[in-house]
Structure formats: structure tokens, C-alpha cells
């Protein structure tokens, strides 16, 4: 029943509680997004936002607002939005203004970081000097990340020279903002082997690097290698020393986030420190700087990784707010932390780790309590309801981001997180304390590290014993529908103070819009037939779904990660037809990689290729010299790396390498990059996997969807 004087739509005095910091943080974030989408024109959004903020309160009159206050806050919102937009635009412009010498160069730099990947050692150099083959020297304030094969035991802080093929990173590639490279100022990349490096001058590592190396030595000298790698990953976020398969199993289970030094780690360290400080009855003016110093040191030992910096900023802001007596509202606290992180670097907004952290924190704040109450109402024990409420709300909030960024999420992840994260958190707490003691008392490290080693072994036993690659949810993307998902969560949570009927209606409308939007995003609506171009640094592929199944055309040497992501993201576990446009020896190497993630019925190879069909028993290999049915149409190999495909009457030429001398005319050209030879086929439309100035490309716009309807072929892509 509605009381007299109450609003028709909401209960009480207002629809939602006004939180200035939340609005400021959102305005700043919106400004950043606008700068990325529209460049300097994004500043107009600040004006629009200020105008909307000034006018919107008129729609919800409460009688208490003073016009001057409303106008002032609208102005502040506009300033925040403009500041976000300018901050982002300026950082992007500075990153792109670094010189971009490319090709075979001699590089001299100071070794600043050493990391590990599964097959290589990653070395990050700063203070760079490039020497071109002509002898020209180019200095750069940016950094280069070199992936070294065969390991590279080089001293930190040393001045090192090496020859390598240098490539410059762009701000955006394959439709994604290269947030971590921009944040870390890594503008260049190269591959090298162990023998390429020459130490010109020894140098001393910084205090943080030295502490990191000391911790690594202590752990690896006193624990079994496998356990030491796990402990080091948990403590510093560097999982490069871990076994690749074990790490992948953590990813499948949706629990690999424990190896990112993030909120969990800092929260545990902060909780331990604050407990000690409060037991010692220290005053805030003493313990705040003390704890801050320890946390900064810890972030430094973790190499100031983006996730660690983000967690540090969040932790410091929350500590300051609590110490200052402002921690009255969790939404405000998280908003303050969000703003602080974006002030450090606006591109954190595009960092997946940051997005997941904020989403999980916001999800817990908004959804956990109502979920827990709901569970209590159906006679769930209080403790179990709280735990389940927290786990479900964090998973629900992280779900669309996981799906869009990684292509899949574990359906079993909820249970694993519910069981595993508290266990690992406890083990991490013990490990942190004992590792700290072991560093202080290195002579007793063997004894001190025995307990955490034993605990860790017990914790990860299920991950070693079970294979979590099952019940993976994927095969679709959210795109812009993500916003609808979060709006539904918000309306369901009760944070918007709507009456039951308007709330139910809003949820129904949003749910309908979400379903329709997801269909539009994921199904080839409006086309007679369609296919997708997908690419990243690991490979290029064309995927077509038709009545006969799913067909794939891929480049040679696709990486394992690329094919795995492609299969999981597209939800494909069986290909009816496969073509690798590559020489026979590359096809020979690529097919087994694909078969790790999906079955294949038929592999087509060019007749001219010297390919031995007897090598694969589970796949039928057909060598084709003329036309053959493929992808719901007809295709013909023009050479090993070029395919001519009739796509329902549209003539498509697909080139993944060297094109033959004579090319037939085509309606659509699909190639890795622009070339004069390919221009001979006079296409009406062109689509490229790699960089192509002014032409549609997966590099610039992300996945491209190409469809045909009624004699018209259309390329669609981008946000």
C-alpha cells in the first residue's frame, strides 16, 4: 500500500541514496571511456553530463535540494568527466609519441625486470637506445619487453646490449586496449635468444628487485621446486615458474585469480598488520604511515604489477577512510578506491584485473546481503547463507567480464571458489608470516617454511588430482549487453529503492532487452549466411557455421592459446572441415594443436602440397586440386596459402601468405596484410587480419562479422 505523499515508483524520500564519491568516480570513468571512444571529442560528454546532472534533480523533486548546491555538484561532475577524458587522452598520446623504430636493431638498455613465461624468460629494459643498421641512434623513455628463449641469467640493473627484430606495440590491437603495456610504459617488444645479450656494464638492482630475488632464493633453496614455485606465485604474483598444465587447470577451474597479487593478498596482510597495531594500541597517526610503508614495500617486491598497485591503492584509501572515520558506507569506500586507482593511471579502467576486482567488490556490496537474506528465508544456516551469498554475488558480477575477456568461465567455479579461496587465503596468511620470518632468519628457513609448504600441498592436492576442464560456460559474448546485466543486478539488489511492481517490471523489461541484445550480438541476425574473422598475436582464423557443421580456415603456426581461446569462446568442440592455409610442414604441426581442443572430421590440403595423409588416423585428409565443397559453398586452392571460396555467390579470396602470380577477380579479399600482388584481384571489399591503414581489419576493430543477404555483402565490426 502506498502512503499519502509517497512516490508512485519508489519508497521513502528518494529512489536511491545520493553518494557524491560514487557519482564522481563514475564521471571520471565515463570521461576515460569517452576519450578512448571519441578522442578529444569525448570532452563534449563532460558538458552533456554536467547539463544532465543539473537538470535531473528536477525530475525527482524532494524539496530539500538547494539549486546552488545542485549546480555546483553538476559542475564538479563535468570537471571530473573532463579530467578523466583529458588524463586518458594525454596518456595515450604520450604513449604513441614515443619513437617507434622497427626492424632489425641493436638495442642498449638497463635491465629492470625479469619474469618468466612457460617457454621464455621475459626481460624488461628501460632507458633505451636503439641503433639502426645505418648507425643512427634513437633514444626512448619507454621500455622494451624481450622474450628470451633458453633462459637468460642476467643481472638486474646492468646495462645490456642485444640485436633483435623490434616491434612497437600500439595502444589498441585486435580490438582490445593494450592497457597493461600502456600502464607499464612497455612500447616495444622483441624476441631474442640467450647468446644475443652482451653485458656492457654491471649495475645494482633496486631495493624492490633485490628483495624479490632474495625471497625467491629463500623459497627455492628451502622448499621443493614445485612448492616453491607455487609459494612464489602466491606471494609475488609471478607464476612463471609454475608447471604450465597445473596453472592451466587453475584457470579452467576459475581460481587462477589467486596468483594475481590483488585484493585478497593485501587484505590479509593489512588485516594482520592492523590486528597487531590495534593490539599494541598504536594511534592512527602512527600505524597508518607504518602500514602504508609495509604495503608499498610489498607492492614493490611484487614488481608494482598493475594488480598489486590497484590493490595497494584500494587498501590505502580504505585504511585512510577508516582511520579518518569516513568508512560509513562501503559503496563510498569502494568508489574512493576506484577513483584513486584511475587517478594513478586512467588506463586501469581497461585492465581486466581491475575490472574483475571492482565488479567482484561491487557485486558483493550490492548483492551479497539480499542473497544471504533470501537463503536464510529458505532455512539455510546463517554462516552458509553468508558464504554462499558472497560467492554467488562475486561470480554473478564477474561473469560477463570473464566471458568477454577469456571466452569462458567455469560452471564449477562457484563451488571451487567457495571451498578453495578460503583455504588458500588461510594458507597464504600462514605462508606470508613464515616467509617473512624465513627472510629475517634465513638460517632457520628450512624449518620455518615446512608448515606453509605442507599446507600448500594439501590445498592444491585437488587441483593436481582432478581435471577441471569440464562444464566450461562459453560460446557467446556480452558486448554492450553487459550494461543490461549489471542493471538487472542493481535492480534485483534493492539498492534502487523501487516498489515491488515497478521493480518487477523494470527487471522484466531489462531481462527482455538482455535476451534480445544477446541474440543480436551472437546470432547472424539479418543475414542469409555469415562468417567471422578472428585474430590475435597468436594466429588468424575464419570461422563459418553452416548446415553441415562448423568450418575453419586458419593461418599456419597458430599458437595453442589462440586455438584454445577460439574453440572455447565460439563454443566449438568439433569442426566439420578444416583448412590451414600454410605449407605442408606447418599444417602438419598445426593440426595436432587444434586436435587438443576440438575434433576435426575432414582436413583439406592443396593437392600440390607434399602432405602425408597417413599421419592422422582420426582425421580424414583430402588433397584437392579443383573445386570442393567447403563452408556451405564451393572452394578451390589457388596455392598452399590462398583459397578461393564461393560464399553463396559472393567470390571470396582468402590469402594467408604468398599469393599466386595470377589471381582471379573477387568480391571480397581477406588477407593478413595489404600487398600490391593482392590488389590485382580488384575486390569490391577488403578485410584484413593485421594492420591496414583505413581498411577494415581485425587489428583495428576486433572480430569482424561478414554476412550476405540479397546480393549484398556486409562487413561489420567494432564496438
Amino acid at each position: 500500500m502506498r502512503k499519502e505523499g509517497e512516490h508512485l515508483l519508489y519508497r521513502g524520500k528518494r529512489a536511491f541514496n545520493f553518494r557524491p564519491l560514487l557519482f564522481l568516480a563514475c564521471a571520471f570513468g565515463l570521461g576515460i571511456a569517452a576519450a578512448c571512444a571519441f578522442g578529444v571529442h569525448g570532452l563534449w560528454l563532460a558538458l552533456a553530463l554536467a547539463a544532465a546532472a543539473a537538470l535531473l534533480p528536477l525530475c525527482f523533486p524532494s524539496g530539500r535540494k538547494k539549486p546552488a548546491g545542485v549546480l555546483l555538484f553538476a559542475l564538479v561532475l563535468g570537471v571530473a568527466c573532463a579530467a578523466g577524458s583529458l588524463a586518458c587522452g594525454m596518456r595515450l598520446s604520450r604513449f604513441e609519441a614515443y619513437p617507434a623504430p622497427q626492424g632489425e636493431l641493436t638495442v642498449v638498455g638497463t635491465l629492470e625486470e625479469v619474469g618468466r613465461t612457460e617457454k621464455t624468460t621475459s626481460l624488461t629494459f628501460g632507458d633505451l637506445l636503439f641503433y639502426t643498421p645505418e648507425g643512427e641512434a634513437v633514444a626512448s623513455a619507454a621500455r622494451i619487453r624481450v622474450y628470451a628463449y633458453g633462459g637468460a641469467d642476467l643481472p638486474l640493473g646492468a646495462r645490456i646490449a642485444f640485436d633483435a627484430e623490434v616491434t612497437a606495440y600500439d595502444s589498441l590491437s585486435y580490438g582490445r586496449v593494450n592497457a597493461s603495456y600502456i600502464i607499464e610504459d612497455v612500447r616495444y617488444t622483441a624476441f631474442a635468444s640467450r647468446g644475443d645479450f652482451r653485458v656492457l656494464q654491471e649495475g645494482a638492482p633496486g631495493i624492490f628487485e633485490a628483495a624479490n630475488a632474495y625471497l625467491q632464493d629463500i623459497l627455492f633453496d628451502n622448499m621443493e621446486e614445485e612448492n616453491a614455485a607455487l609459494a612464489f606465485a602466491l606471494l609475488t604474483g609471478n607464476s612463471g615458474w609454475m608447471d604450465g598444465d597445473v596453472l592451466q587447470n587453475f584457470r579452467y577451474g576459475g581460481i587462477a585469480h589467486i596468483f594475481a597479487v590483488s585484493g585478497m593478498n593485501f587484505a590479509i596482510v593489512y588485516a594482520a598488520l592492523i590486528f597487531v597495531c590495534k593490539k599494541l594500541r598504536l594511534r592512527p597517526w602512527l600505524y597508518v604511515p607504518l602500514i602504508a610503508a609495509v604495503l608499498i614495500l610489498y607492492a614493490g617486491v611484487c614488481g608494482f604489477a598493475p594488480s598489486a598497485v590497484r590493490a595497494l591503492a584500494m587498501c590505502l584509501v580504505l585504511m585512510l577512510m577508516e582511520a579518518g572515520g569516513f568508512a560509513y558506507d562501503r559503496v563510498t569506500s569502494v568508489s574512493a578506491a576506484f577513483l584513486a586507482v584511475l587517478l594513478i593511471h586512467p588506463l586501469y579502467l581497461f585492465s581486466v584485473g581491475f575490472q574483475l576486482s571492482v565488479a567482484a567488490a561491487a557485486g558483493i556490496i550490492v548483492l551479497a546481503a539480499p542473497l544471504s537474506r533470501l537463503l536464510c528465508r529458505i532455512r539455510f544456516p546463517k554462516g552458509a547463507s553468508d558464504a554462499l551469498g558472497v560467492a554467488v554475488s562475486a561470480q554473478a558480477a564477474a561473469f560477463p567480464i570473464l566471458i568477454d575477456c577469456f571466452g569462458y568461465t567455469s560452471g564449477f567455479g562457484l563451488v571451487l571458489n567457495l571451498v578453495f579461496v578460503p583455504l588458500v587465503s588461510a594458507a597464504y596468511g600462514v605462508l606470508f608470516v613464515f616467509a617473512l620470518l624465513a627472510c629475517i632468519l634465513p638460517f632457520a628457513a628450512g624449518v620455518l617454511l615446512f608448515i606453509p609448504e605442507y599446507l600448500l600441498r594439501v590445498c592444491i592436492f585437488p587441483v593436481l588430482a582432478l581435471d577441471f576442464r569440464f562444464w566450461l560456460i562459453g560460446g557467446f559474448t556480452f558486448g554492450g549487453c553487459m550494461l543490461l546485466w549489471y542493471l538487472i543486478c542493481l535492480f534485483l539488489s534493492g539498492k534502487v529503492n523501487l516498489r515491488p511492481l515497478p521493480r518487477a517490471l523494470a527487471c522484466l523489461l531489462l531481462g527482455g532487452a538482455l535476451v534480445a541484445g544477446m541474440c543480436l550480438t551472437n546470432l547472424p541476425v539479418g543475414y542469409d549466411a555469415a562468417f567471422t574473422l578472428i585474430a590475435d598475436y597468436g594466429g588468424q582464423a575464419l570461422l563459418v557455421r553452416h548446415e553441415g557443421g562448423v568450418s575453419l580456415v586458419a593461418s599456419g603456426r597458430p599458437s595453442s592459446d589462440f586455438l584454445e581461446k577460439l574453440c572455447l569462446r565460439e563454443g566449438v568442440d568439433r569442426f566439420a572441415e578444416v583448412i590451414f592455409l600454410a605449407p605442408a610442414y606447418e599444417v602438419n604441426a598445426a593440426l595436432p594443436i587444434l586436435l587438443q581442443y576440438a575434433e576435426a572430421d575432414v582436413l583439406y590440403v592443396a593437392e600440390e602440397a607434399d602432405f602425408s595423409p597417413a599421419l592422422f588416423r582420426t582425421v580424414e585428409v583430402r588433397a584437392e586440386g579443383g573445386g570442393f565443397p567447403f563452408g556451405g559453398g564451393e572452394a578451390a586452392f589457388l596455392n598452399e596459402e590462398t583459397l578461393y571460396w564461393d560464399f553463396g555467390g559472393a567470390r571470396v579470396l582468402i590469402s594467408m601468405g604468398e599469393a599466386p602470380e595470377r589471381l582471379p577477380q573477387c568480391d571480397l579479399l581477406i588477407a593478413q596484410g595489404e600487398s600490391e600482388a593482392l590488389a590485382a584481384c580488384a575486390p569490391a571489399l577488403e578485410a584484413y587480419f593485421g594492420k591496414a591503414e583505413g581498411k577494415p581489419s581485425v587489428y583495428a576493430s576486433g572480430d569482424l562479422q561478414i554476412g550476405r543477404k540479397g546480393g549484398i555483402i556486409t562487413i561489420k565490426g567494432g564496438p
Binding site: L86, G627, S701, I713, G717
Partner: protein, 113 residues
């Protein structure tokens, strides 16, 4: 009134500080264009193939320009052939089998009945 003034001043200082923190580390003219490049391009396509129909009982033998998806039945109707056919009449002209891709990118079918 005084409390409100203090709050306003504190907020103004906070906004100025935040703006300075956000903008000062990278003094450079902001990027002019956005990062994302939306794509939407369309073009018509011909979708025709050439079929040469010859043989006994073909009333109008010759070369036909037929749209993609034309069935053998429709082709024979055009050519004025009503006799028995080794081709499946209700199926589209098979590109890989009966039609050959020319170097000019045109499929040509040579059908003798």
C-alpha cells in the same frame, strides 16, 4: 552556513587536487581520435555463373548467365530441354563438380545432355 562553506571549499580543493594528479604526469596534447574503429561496409556482388548447355533435344543451346543457386531444372527450362537428365533437376548447379573456376574468377559449367 559556515559548515556548508567549509565543505564546499574542501570539495573544491579535492577536485583541484584530483585534476592535477590526473593531468600533471603526462603533459601532452590529448589524443585527437578515438581508439576504436567501428566498421560497417557493404557492397553488392554479382553472384552469376555461366552455363553452356548443349546436346540433343536442347531447343536453345548456348551460354546462359544464371544467378547463383539456379537449379538444373531451371537451367534446362531456359535452354528448352525436357528430356531425361543425368543431373538432379531440383538441385543447384554444382560449382565444384560441374562448374570450373576460371582465372577471371568466374565459374563456368559445361553441360552436355
Amino acid at each position: 552556513m559556515r559548515a556548508a562553506l567549509v565543505k564546499c571549499c574542501a570539495a573544491a580543493v579535492a577536485v583541484v587536487l584530483c585534476t592535477a594528479v590526473a593531468l600533471l604526469p603526462a603533459i601532452a596534447p590529448p589524443k585527437q581520435e578515438g581508439l576504436f574503429t567501428p566498421v560497417r561496409q557493404s557492397a553488392p556482388f554479382d553472384g552469376y555463373l555461366y552455363a553452356i548447355v548443349q546436346g540433343e533435344g536442347v531447343a536453345f543451346p548456348g551460354s546462359y548467365r544464371i544467378p547463383h543457386g539456379t537449379t538444373y531444372g531451371e537451367l534446362f527450362a531456359l535452354a528448352g530441354y525436357a528430356g531425361s537428365s543425368p543431373y538432379p533437376l531440383d538441385e543447384a548447379v554444382r560449382l565444384g563438380e560441374d562448374a570450373v573456376l576460371g582465372e577471371d574468377g568466374v565459374w563456368r559449367a559445361y553441360i552436355v545432355v
